[in-house]
């Protein structure tokens, strides 16, 4: 019996040995994703994980210029904006077809926006379209001729162009939507560099080279996206050769890949900010001195270097530096100065009363929220603040924080990733964005000057003029300290050394059009 078993095992090992070298074939790029895509309909999804795939299958009217968050032409060759900032006219690229062979034209653009925005559109029921509010200012889209399309906005809205560059603005084939209806998300068709080929649920999504790509066919024959939810398994798969690229490497493992020559590690700061919302309605943080004290008391450098192990940088203000054009380079982060914090707390009249601090267990962009929350608690305790932590699971946490902190907590963790410098401050720092008005200003910050600057920045369409307004806003907000500005996350990725031309983008999208892997 034993001999038979031993023989069976030995032959099993031998039988599998040849195919065991899990190497990926040349000219095919295997990407390790953090989850199964929800849908390949760009208008129906909200997760960066899905965006990473979609930007390779579809194009928008505009896109982000390589390495920046500034827009450049894509399916639209050029555009004009009316003086009142309410009419955008796009000239479309000619001769572009969707993967299913149907033509890309002004009617197709109109179909895309009508489907998302008009509840009486025959294909509106192929949604829901959770991020369609990105285009809530769009009143009407008209196809003037085959290659001209006009958008009428209800009010001037400068972030419109960068919202078009977001995946919610990618163009889907109307023909494919008509054919597949609700199942379009599993039978996608766009104009992108790669064509959808196969989706084997929970195993892989395959896209192949689009030979007719208007911007030049890519060199790779195919992309394979594999969902591997467990970070440790993703690392094991990368180490054993089953992946060419993996994203979102945990800080602990990044060092291991950095020291191994068969891998390349990439890092790129993105439009992310991690902060603490301070409740400006109630003591102690109704006093500016106390809010500034919290900013001085927390050792952000230690958080970023020790807990996040260098995967983030210290934040100076409400706008991430990734928005290079709108970022105020003059801002310096609040230095770590416990003595100053103590003095400011005294000035604010705080005497060690207990305050509640909402901490989340996880959540999108929250990095290592429990460890960070504990370190922050210790820093605040060191300057005499009596901080009590309450920890909640992400969905529960959002349900507590978004309606406002009044009567519940003095501070809460939060993180945002956005595509335009307008989004976060407009939704979370204006008087008009208080929770009872449907916004995210959960700490009740209010400054008339900031309100005015943000309103104005939406109305001017000249980028330089807008930038000046955002820069001024950042200075005021930093001084008022409605938040403790903590960190800007750097996304990371590891590739096999044989992968060429791979880059990370500040948008956090994974643009694979120019990647090569000859072997």
């Amino acid at each position: 019996m034993k001999k038979i078993l031993a023989a069976a095992f030995a032959s099993a090992f031998l039988a599998f040995a040849p195919q065991a070298q899990a190497q990926t074939p040349p000219n095919v790029l295997v990407v390790g994703q953090i989850a199964e895509p929800k849908s390949l309909d760009p208008h129906a999804v909200t997760a960066v994980n899905d965006f990473r795939i979609l930007v390779n299958l579809y194009d928008g009217l505009v896109r982000y210029k390589d390495g920046t968050l500034e827009v450049e032409p894509s399916l639209a060759e050029s555009w004009t904006i009316s003086d009142d900032g309410k009419t955008y006219t796009f000239k479309l690229r000619e001769g572009v077809t969707f993967h299913d062979g149907s033509p890309f034209n002004a009617e197709a653009v109109k179909f895309n926006f009508d489907r998302m925005l008009k509840e009486d559109h025959p294909f509106h029921d192929t949604g829901p379209f959770p991020l369609s509010f990105f285009f809530s200012t769009v009143e009407d889209v008209t196809a003037d001729d085959e290659t001209t399309v006009t958008f009428k906005l209800s009010a001037p809205y400068a972030p419109f162009l960068s919202n078009l560059a977001y995946p919610t603005g990618l163009m889907v084939s109307p023909e494919a939507v008509r054919t597949h209806g609700k199942d379009f998300g599993r039978n996608p068709s766009g104009t992108g560099a790669y064509k959808f080929a196969e989706w084997d649920a929970n195993a892989k999504m395959v896209a192949v080279r689009n030979e007719d790509y208007w911007d030049g066919a890519p060199e790779l024959e195919a992309l394979i996206f594999r969902p591997i939810t467990d970070a440790n398994t993703r690392i094991a798969e990368m180490l054993s050769g089953g992946l060419d690229v993996m994203v979102e490497v945990p800080p602990d493992s990044l060092q291991q890949f950095k020291t191994d020559e068969s891998f390349t590690v990439l890092e790129q700061a993105g439009p992310h900010v991690w902060f603490l919302i301070l409740n400006a309605k109630e003591a102690p943080f109704n006093s500016k001195a106390a809010r500034q004290a919290a900013n001085y008391a927390i050792n952000k450098k230690a958080l970023v270097e020790n807990i996040l192990q260098g995967t983030a940088e210290v934040a100076a203000g409400p706008t991430p530096p990734a928005f290079a054009w709108a970022y105020n380079e003059g801002l310096e982060p609040y230095p770590y100065d416990p003595d100053k914090a103590r003095a400011l707390l005294k000035e604010a009249g705080y005497n060690g009363e207990e305050i509640t601090f909402y901490v989340t267990e996880g959540g999108s962009g929250m990095l290592d929220p429990i460890a960070m929350g504990t370190a922050i608690q210790a820093d605040l305790q060191a300057v005499g603040m009596n901080v009590k932590i309450e920890t909640y699971e992400w969905n529960t946490f959002l349900g507590k924080v978004n309606p406002g902190l009044e009567g519940k907590a003095a501070m809460a963790e939060m993180a945002w990733m956005t595509n335009d410098p307008d989004t976060l401050p407009f939704l979370a720092l204006r008087t008009e964005a208080m929770p009872d008005k449907g916004g995210f200003n959960s700490g009740y910050y209010s400054n008339a000057k900031v309100d005015a600057l943000l309103e104005k920045a939406r109305q001017v369409t000249d980028q330089r003029e807008r930038a000046a307004l955002y820069k001024e806003m950042q200075e005021i907000v930093q001084e008022d300290a409605p938040w403790v500005f903590v960190a800007n996350w750097k996304q990371n990725a590891v590739t096999k050394a044989s992968v060429e031309g791979f880059k990370l983008q500040p948008s956090f999208f994974l643009m694979l059009q120019d990647v090569r892997k000859p072997q």
């Binding site: 065991a20 949604g127 649920a201 929970n202 969905n395």
Partner: protein, 314 residues
């Protein structure tokens, strides 16, 4: 026998029905809702309300349940909000993957568990018994997700004998050898604890039987030791062990939740974990229903086998 099986199946219906109500209530009680989970940072009350309306979640819980149960009778488990596909398709696909994994593990743990238990009992206090008892103790105490990671580290990363994750190779493959290749590590990991439990139980049951008078009689008649153990002792011991294997089937499916996550096995356990965290009520409901039904069937099967083995129960 047929009447017995029919009675047991009928009795399972109210159990499953009650279960769907409990799942509905639990999902309603845990904070957070699908719209918030989908919208994440953008979950303003206004956006949440709009999305809930489009998802049909603005109805009362009772109405939602009635709609769900009505559809169930037409074989429709609804549509998953997060996956944007019919729940039934997803659940069946995932469940067959789990069945392959859990079924293999169950076979492995039954075979190894019974063998180890018999050897251990026959050689009581001998070296084989001591080694098996020690291994069983270690096996029962090892957290399976940890064991899975260690096996991945040794056999996938260092030796590169087995793949680290997945059910089929991502290019080529998809045949039986490929499946076995991918199945080996997760199935072994999943079977370890149950092997230990079955081995322990078999040992106790065998020791008890071996002390019975009829065994002494059998030996006295001059039967070979092999015949005494396998024909006489093992058959009676099995009567006590089979229902435990039935219960272990439930634990193996439950344990599959971790193992599927660690090995990225596309089964129903990892599906449920994701569905719960995204508050995908219909997907949770469909998944739990299928798992519970399978559990009921496994136990029924074990009881039937037991009845066939033990004439006293007929």
């Amino acid at each position: 026998m047929a009447a017995y099986i029919a009675r047991r199946l009928l009795a399972a219906i109210p159990v499953l029905f009650g279960l769907t109500i409990i799942v509905f209530l639990i999902m309603a009680m845990i904070p957070g809702d699908p719209a918030t989970a989908i919208l994440g940072s953008y979950a303003t009350p206004e956006n949440v309300a709009r999305l809930n309306r489009e998802l049909g979640l603005d109805k009362t819980l009772f109405e939602q349940y009635v709609i769900w149960i009505g559809n169930l009778f037409q074989g429709d488990l609804g549509r998953s909000y997060t996956l944007n596909r019919p729940v039934l398709d997803e659940v069946l696909e995932r469940f067959s993957a789990t069945l392959i994994l859990a079924g293999t593990s169950l076979v492995l743990c039954s075979v190894f568990g019974l063998l180890a238990g018999i050897v251990s009992a026959v050689r009581q206090y001998g070296w084989a018994d001591k080694i098996i008892t020690l291994l069983v103790l270690v096996g029962i105490s090892t957290p399976s997700f940890w064991l899975g990671l260690i096996l991945i580290l040794i056999f996938a990363v260092n030796l590169r004998l087995f793949p680290a994750s997945g059910m089929y190779a991502i290019y080529g493959g998809s045949d039986l050898p490929d499946l076995i290749h991918h199945l080996t590590l997760p199935a072994l990991t999943l079977s370890v604890v149950a092997t230990g439990v079955i081995a322990r139980l078999t040992r106790t049951a065998m020791l008890e039987v071996l002390r019975q008078d009829y065994i002494r009689t059998a030996r006295a008649k001059g039967l070979s030791e092999r015949k005494v153990i396998y024909k006489h002792a093992f058959k009676s011991a099995l009567v006590g062990v089979v229902p435990v294997i039935g219960i272990q089937a439930g634990f193996v499916i439950g344990g599959a939740v971790y193992i599927e996550t660690v090995f990225q096995w596309p089964g129903i356990g990892s599906m449920l974990v994701t569905a719960i965290s995204t508050r995908d009520l219909l997907l949770v409901q469909g998944g739990v229903l299928v798992v519970a039904a399978a559990y009921v069937l496994f136990n029924l099967f074990a009881d039937v086998v037991q009845t066939l083995l033990d004439p006293r129960l007929r």
